[in-house]
Every structure is written in structure tokens, then in C-alpha cells.
């Protein structure tokens, strides 16, 4: 089957690959991830696109390869203490730091890293 892309579709695809939505804006999940009052992920994690990250947690890169199961990554953001009782990662879902929708958006963003 031959795949032919119109120029607009090509632009959207390129945007998605670069971590942007169809309009070329940064994904809402990135704003949530970097916002100190929301995910605040850079405090502990090195993530491409962010500055002056902390190093309490691992670098968040290669996420599609490392977390082929989206449920697993979502669970980590929701409550990592389930997997590692001694973790210092806040339980963003269990402690109502982020809504389910916000977690979804952040997971979407992480899969572009």
C-alpha cells in the first residue's frame, strides 16, 4: 500500500514527532511537566527541553523503548510507592497533586522524550 502524505499532513506528523500538536504548539503535557506547581518533574529528572534539572531520579529519555506498556508509566506517575516503597517520587495521583487528565497529558509528553 503506497502512503502518500499531503503537505499539511506531513507538517502535522513532523510536529508530533518533535513533541508538538497539530498546530505546532508544545504539548500541554510539557507545560504541566515543567510547571513547578504541577508535575515539577525537572526538580528531580533531566528531560530534554528543560533547564537546570535535578538528579534525584533517572533521566527521562528513550521512554517508548523503556515503557512499552503505557499503563506501567502511568502507574509510576500515579503512585511509585507501589513499586518502590522507599521512592522519593511524590504520588501525583494518590495524593491528588495532578488530575487523571493531567497525568495522561504528561505521559503523552513523556512518550515524545
Amino acid at each position: 500500500m503506497r502512503l502518500r502524505l499531503k503537505s499539511a499532513q506531513a507538517a502535522i506528523l513532523a510536529g508530533l514527532l518533535l513533541g508538538a500538536d497539530a498546530q505546532g504548539q508544545a504539548l500541554p503535557g510539557q507545560a504541566l511537566a515543567f510547571d513547578r506547581s504541577k508535575g515539577n518533574c525537572l526538580t528531580c529528572h533531566d528531560i530534554k527541553g528543560g533547564d537546570a534539572p535535578g538528579n534525584l531520579g533517572p533521566q527521562l529519555a528513550d521512554m517508548k523503548a523503556r515503557f512499552p506498556d503505557r499503563k506501567e508509566l502511568t502507574a509510576i506517575v500515579f503512585d511509585e510507592t507501589k513499586r518502590n516503597p522507599q521512592t522519593v517520587m511524590p504520588p501525583f495521583g494518590r495524593n491528588l497533586i495532578l488530575t487523571d487528565g493531567e497525568i495522561e497529558a504528561i505521559v503523552d509528553f513523556l512518550y515524545t522524550r
Binding site: T43, P53, G54, V88, N95, I97
Partner: protein
């Protein structure tokens, strides 16, 4: 009759242990500050074999060479000097009734900071230096100072300065109330709190030397030794009380009142863990 003898033998055993000076065991686990102390010390010295023991009192500077260079650069003009001078002057100024701070403390309050906190057997509570200073004021008809503001920081800065280099010498008397206070302090230190679910240990035991954003985390060993601190981030001095309150807020926990029993207990615990390490206060931090 058998029960009587059994009870009697238990009583005799307990009495014998008490006479021998053993610490009384609690119903659940027994509290053993000496064992805790050794384990605590070993954990940090093993994790950081290149840090000289006494250097732990320098917090993040003992962990990060780059940060240390910046710190040493300002050491000629330490930012807390004004606080020491002010504290010295406050110490020399009598209260309205003619008494001075020195009258409330052993050795006129000079060179005693390393003995605080202590457990007061009469009142059955932990007495920190900050608490003792305000009680001194109130006993002499003066209004107490805020625990989180500059007057208290100046007083404790001066007192710390007169003890610089002296090893911490915190005592836990062989009294169940003192042991309970010690254990409550240990519990506070390791308990997760706040919406962000951190315990003090999350940063200061699990992650010393690591950094949150650009801030290097201090090790729990010796962490009270430099108090009060001039903190660049605060553009001013911070007392022990201020630090505990802000730590609570940082993890989105509503802070307790300054000098709350639990705050005094955790200061007691951390100070005991620092026994033998030199008073380094007042200190400077980023």
C-alpha cells in the same frame, strides 16, 4: 502462688537491670540511641569515604567541590557577622529588671551551645536553645521573640559563635520520658508528610549530595551544627525553627507552631546524632 513468684522474679530482673544502668525497654521495641548513633554515623562515612568526619557539619559544601569554592570565597566577609555582633550586644544589654541573658544560663551563656537541646527531668520536656532564650525573657518580664525572626537568630548566632569548634554533647538521661522524646524525634524525621510525601530522610538520608534543581542536598549527619544560618536564598538569617517550618511548607505540609514539641524532639534526635561533631554555627548557606 506460682504466678506470684513469676511476677516477683520479673520485678527482681527489672530492678537488677535498672541498678546495672541498662536503659528500660518499652513494650514494643527497645529504644537504643547508642546503636542508632553508630549506624547513622557509619551510613554517612561509608557513603562518603572521602569526606573527613568533621566536615559533615558544612552541609552541602562537604558534598560538592564547586559549591565549596563559592563558599570559601565569601568566608573573608561572612554574611552572618552582623548577626553575631547584634547578638553580642543583646546579650550585654540588661532587661528592664536589670538581669541579663547570662543570668539564665550556665557559664553566663558563653560556650554552652553544644549542650542544647537537653531533656529537663523536672518539666519532662526537651529544652532547645531557642526555647530557653524565650523562657529567659518571659521569666524576666520581657515579651518573647518570634522564633523565626532576626532577634532570635542574632541571639543564637552569638551563642553558637562562642561555642565554635566545641563538640556536640547531647545527653539522653536514663528516663523513659527522655527516651520517648528521642524516639518521637526519630519518628518525625523518618515520617513522610505533606502532599509531596517526603520525609526529612527522603532528602537528607537518601539523597545527600544530589541536587533538586540546582540545590545540593545536605547530609543529615551534622545538619544542625551550623544553625542559625545566613541563607542567601532568604537574604537573611534563619533559625532552627524557621528551617523546620519552611521544610514542612516545601513539601506542602502545614507547618507546626515553632518550637512545637515535635520540632523540639526532632532537633533533639538530630543533635544527638551529631554528638562529637563540632559546632560550626552560625553558618552560611546558598
Amino acid at each position: 502462688m506460682k504466678i506470684f513468684r513469676a511476677i516477683a522474679s520479673v520485678v527482681v530482673t527489672i530492678a537488677a537491670l535498672a541498678i546495672a544502668g541498662a536503659r528500660p525497654a518499652t513494650a514494643a521495641d527497645s529504644i537504643d540511641p547508642d546503636a542508632d548513633f553508630k549506624a547513622f554515623r557509619d551510613y554517612f562515612t561509608k557513603r562518603f569515604p572521602n569526606v573527613p568526619l568533621n566536615d559533615f557539619v558544612n552541609g552541602p559544601y562537604s558534598m560538592d567541590a564547586e559549591l565549596r569554592k563559592q563558599w570559601e570565597a565569601i568566608d573573608d566577609f561572612p554574611p552572618y557577622d552582623f548577626a553575631i555582633d547584634r547578638g553580642k550586644q543583646m546579650f550585654a544589654t540588661p532587661f528592664k529588671n536589670g538581669k541579663t541573658y547570662g543570668d539564665c544560663f550556665p557559664d553566663n551563656g558563653v560556650g554552652i551551645r553544644q549542650n542544647y537541646p537537653y531533656f529537663d527531668l523536672q518539666s519532662g520536656e526537651v529544652i532547645t536553645l531557642e526555647l530557653a532564650l524565650n523562657r529567659c525573657r518571659e521569666t524576666n518580664g520581657e515579651e518573647p521573640y518570634s522564633y523565626v525572626k532576626d532577634e532570635m537568630a542574632s541571639l543564637t548566632a552569638y551563642m553558637a559563635f562562642t561555642s565554635r569548634g566545641k563538640p556536640f554533647d547531647i545527653k539522653i538521661p536514663n528516663d523513659p520520658r527522655a527516651l520517648a522524646a528521642y524516639q518521637k524525634g526519630e519518628e518525625y524525621f523518618y515520617t513522610r508528610r505533606g502532599q509531596l510525601n517526603f520525609s526529612c530522610a527522603s532528602c537528607h538520608v537518601q539523597n545527600p549530595g544530589n541536587h533538586i534543581r540546582t540545590e545540593v542536598l545536605a547530609p543529615a549527619l551534622g545538619i544542625v551544627a551550623a544553625m542559625p544560618i545566613y541563607r542567601s536564598e532568604w537574604n537573611g538569617m534563619g533559625t532552627m525553627s524557621r528551617r523546620l517550618v519552611t521544610c514542612n511548607r516545601q513539601v506542602r505540609g502545614v507547618p507546626l507552631k515553632p518550637q512545637d514539641e515535635l520540632y523540639r524532639d526532632v532537633e533533639y534526635y538530630l543533635s544527638y546524632m551529631s554528638n562529637g561533631l563540632p559546632v560550626s554555627g552560625p553558618g552560611a548557606r546558598p
